[in-house]
Symmetry: C2
Subunit: 185 residues, 2 copies
């Protein structure tokens, strides 16, 4: 086998396992969040809403989720029907639609976050702190290249600054919702 073929085999394996891991993780999340009346997808939307804070334009929500505005609009529709989100017109620009989290969404989000953290603690428990850091770094590299690939024209440094996962207060904002936890923080 040539070195290229060897690398290709590893790359194919990595590709498969990234997808498989995320699909299994999603099944875990559906199981956990289902107890609070949320799908994993809906929880993800609420989490990004909470990190962005307040009422959010659908375009910003889509950017935060790294998904197309169209697909996010459909998810938002279902979440409005389910009473988790509320749609409102922008006060300054009536053409712009904003969404915010309803009280029902708030009530579901808090214990779901506690349960979600418990899940992620559990499934990453065999990894040392250093392993976890390495895992984050490897994801960062691949995510950065993937963002470049999908938006070759974009200013990648600016995209990085706007990327929700790069926000220094990301974790802090989520940790607020862990206050019903055992207070070990």
């Amino acid at each position: 086998m040539t070195p290229n073929a060897k690398t290709d085999n590893l790359v194919l394996r990595l590709w498969f396992i990234m997808h498989r891991t995320r699909d299994v993780l999603r099944s875990c999340e559906d199981k956990v969040f289902g107890k609070y009346g949320l799908t994993a997808e809906q929880y993800g939307v609420l989490a990004v809403m909470k990190v962005l804070g307040g009422s959010v334009r659908v375009t910003d929500l889509a950017r935060g989720l790294g998904r197309s505005a169209n697909s996010v609009s459909m998810i938002v529709d279902r979440m409005v029907k389910a009473g988790l989100l509320r749609r409102e017109r922008d006060r300054r620009d009536r053409r712009t639609v904003r969404v915010s989290v309803t009280n029902k969404g708030e009530v579901a989000f808090r214990p779901a976050t506690v349960a979600g953290l418990e899940l992620i603690r559990e499934i990453t428990s065999p990894l040392s702190y250093e392993d976890k850091r390495t895992f984050v770094s490897l994801h960062e590299v691949v995510k950065h290249k993937a963002l470049q690939y999908v938006n070759p024209e974009a200013d990648i440094e600016e995209m990085g600054r706007n990327d929700i996962t790069n926000r220094p207060d990301l974790v802090k904002r989520l940790r607020q919702y862990l206050s019903t936890s055992t207070g070990e923080g």
Copy 2:
């Protein structure tokens, strides 16, 4: 910050970035596979069909994808309508439905696999061979724990043997479809 809080912060960060990376990767894949008339999801189904080989029961396809039979049934419906898959009754057990890849599906799959490998090569290009191996191993650990979590009753060793990403011939089966590549293997 207590050691637990420090680990929780890292775990929350890892959780977010795993999702974000896969979502951006999915956007890249939709872009690449769209050239061959496939969504990323449809390509994933064809890839698992190809690894399993021949005509496949929907339940086995769902297991291969690590998704629920219900959601896979819906994807299969759309792919049958799009002419990518064909449904057939099992010859021995008429109650069992099997699916197989149509000629149209075959024609799309081959160049899509070449283009998909090109994409994954590109977005993992900053990682060394060792980094890639580490990335695979870290995914293996998390996937294993997640499988245990979602199926606490299941025999995890048997699940591992049945897990498509653990098949020793996984990469070999996919490499067959790379023969239209530049033949560098």
